[in-house]
Assembly symmetry: C2
Homo-oligomer: 408 residues x 2
């Protein structure tokens, strides 16, 4: 009998999804579950862009160009121009979700055994793509005490080896919500320039910044050859299921490599490219409404968390995530317990244990990520549950006492 | 300045697409180009399944399950049952095109440095996915003289090393159109069983068999742990742009690995899953019409080719491709010349040089692949062009004389 590959074994299971069976069981028992665990926004996809898909008029669902429809790529030039990102359409390759942009960047720039440095905690699926590409992820720790600000130059320098080819950031950050500042980006600029590294910049949450303006890595001077922008429409327009993203760079050698990976898989999905193209025409104030809604949710979440004893949650500057430290010793155990053994007024909440977002073993064990993708009322209800749960959670499992892991 | 990866450099450019600039130039000169070079069918996508997409009624374009919508997977069980393939929905993982099914199978079953044996000529993008996965493709040659029948057991045995983990077939075959027989599949069955290998079976063209019935690798007895079916709706329903495929296997360990790769990229595209699900409900005779159309085209193509002096083209039993040997010494040069320097009544044709479908250097140099994805009239026009072209093609480039490669 043939055996599966080592990388098939090494491939990490999704830390976000592994509690799903417990949530399903809770729902079968009639418990309402507030999903703060996953970045699936409840915001409606703009009806006009869904209509654009409804009104397609082709008769043959053909392959598109491997780099995506030219009309869409031209449109995106104007979208990026509004964001002060100056690119031409040949510098944009449409990908199947931001996911594929990440994978293509890794495959094109790094060989198996090469290293990418990522501030931790980080989006867990970076691990997955790195495993696919045979790349080693080297974490550099950011800390909840400083609100997950960029680690110091020294910390990055210490992590760089002869195999380091790239630094990957997510700005604003998933899972921390941290929005990198101008000085921080300048630090990165100097670092990648000095060490001849790529800077992969995942800007999936660009439109959702609550404190100050978003600065794109594409705006950093002198990094034309270094920066690869990883983008997606998933969060921007609440269009996660469309699986449309983009890889954008001014580095022609990288574009030449990426297009070969793109050609192998033929083309990105057709219907969602129509949606993406229509989205560029949304009125300029579209994001204001959405952003204000997220801001309210963030404020509600952070304010409620700040009132719970033993909980610490720095207010995130962007995206729609926050990481909170809880007064428990094992947040995964607590999250499972919330689904298996707890209910408050017939309700509970689902959290993402933060441990899975760290590359360093042992970090984040008492932290959880919360996605504020539910409306303010739901967030209040979920916080009512959390408050009650932390009161009720057996002392033996709390941070003050060692807990019995056999429960897991 | 950072450099791109070795695999980025090694990644093969698409042999089908590299003549595209010459075709574009021909069109700019006003020459009509018959595209026999690419497997993009002109058959209309069934209007009812396009309508199913138009009539979606969700308000949020959400992620689907990483394995695809459960309703779709259940539907596919009934599709496969009609094809005498007995599987349950948990054994089906929806992928982003057949492309992703191929990549997931390679990643899950083979490690970097492992080998997959593929009868050549083969679908050129297998090379691309193998390069992504760091896998070595070991070709075993099939020959035009035998109509590209399966190579002998001895040839396979000779190619097997300690690193061999899988044999990959495409049935019916792209690019040869060959339909594997029961005895041939039985040969493979014994081989993979004896040597403990995976059998990857790409059955993208299952519905288009003109001589006899299609036999799926999933029907081979005793291979529950060995067979991975790689599937797609692209050709089946003329839905190439949808990017919906499936990986199907009864091997639970493989499913467990594949789902982790699937989770990393979150989900397959949403709109096209609706299309795929609706397609299962097409009337049973849907394929008859399409198949008869392709049969007519095949007959027209092969019959015309058989009348051209010096051309040899075995009649393909399935898919919509044929490989022909031409009386030229360099089919790529000829194909480029057709686009650059030739026209007959203001028309020419675009061919896919077969060399790019071979893994062994030097094979297929005087062969081309033709996709009969155009209607019978167009095929006749294209054959008129080919006849005239072979008369007009400079003697110095014909197979009887050495040609000056500086032309390239």
């Amino acid at each position: 009998m043939p055996s599966i590959s080592q990388r098939g074994q090494d491939m990490p299971a999704s830390p976000i999804r592994k509690l799903v069976p417990y949530a399903e069981a809770a729902k079968k028992r009639g418990v309402h579950v507030y999903h703060l665990n996953i970045g699936q926004p409840d915001i409606e996809t703009p009806p006009s862009i869904l209509d654009a898909v409804r009104h397609f008029n082709f008769k043959v669902l053909e392959y598109s160009h491997s780099a995506g429809n030219e009309s869409y790529r031209h449109k995106l030039v104007s979208y990026y121009a509004k964001k002060n990102i100056d690119v031409n359409y040949k510098q944009i390759i449409i990908t199947t979700g931001g996911s594929e942009a990440i994978l293509f960047a890794m495959l094109s720039c790094l060989d198996a055994g090469d290293e990418v440095i990522i501030p931790e905690p980080f989006y867990a699926n970076y691990n997955g793509f790195a495993t696919e590409a045979g790349i080693k992820v080297v974490p550099v720790t950011s800390y909840i005490e400083s609100g997950f600000a960029l680690p110091s130059t020294e910390a990055f320098e210490k992590a760089i080896t002869s195999r380091t080819k790239a630094i990957l950031i997510c700005n604003p950050n998933n899972p921390t919500g941290y929005l990198y500042t101008g000085p921080e980006l300048n630090t990165l600029r100097q670092l990648v320039k000095k060490r001849g590294l790529y800077l992969f910049s995942d800007e999936a949450y660009r439109e959702f910044c609550y404190e100050g303006e978003h600065l794109s890595a594409m705006q950093l001077e002198g990094l034309e050859e270094n920066v690869i922008l990883l983008d997606t429409i998933s969060k921007r327009y609440s269009a996660c299921g469309g699986r449309i993203g983009a890889l954008v760079t001014r580095n022609q050698e990288v574009l030449d490599a990426v297009i070969k990976f793109a050609q192998a898989r033929l083309s990105p999905p057709a219907f969602s490219q129509i949606l993406g193209e229509a989205a560029v025409d949304l009125p300029d104030d579209y994001f204001n409404t959405t952003k204000e809604e997220y801001r309210k949710r963030r404020n509600a979440l952070v304010e409620r968390l700040s009132r719970i004893e033993g909980v610490f949650c720095p207010s995130p500057g962007g995206a729609f995530y926050a990481i909170a430290r809880l007064p428990v010793s094992d947040a995964e155990h607590f999250s499972q317990w919330l689904l298996e053994s707890f209910a408050f007024k017939g309700q509970t909440l689902m959290l993402a244990p933060a441990e899975g977002f760290y590359g360093t073993d042992g970090l984040g064990k008492n932290e959880v990520r919360m996605a504020y993708v539910l409306n303010v009322d739901s967030i209040h209800n979920a916080m009512d549950c959390l408050e009650a749960a932390l009161r009720e959670y057996p002392q033996s499992f709390s941070s003050k006492k060692a807990h019995n892991l056999s429960y897991k």
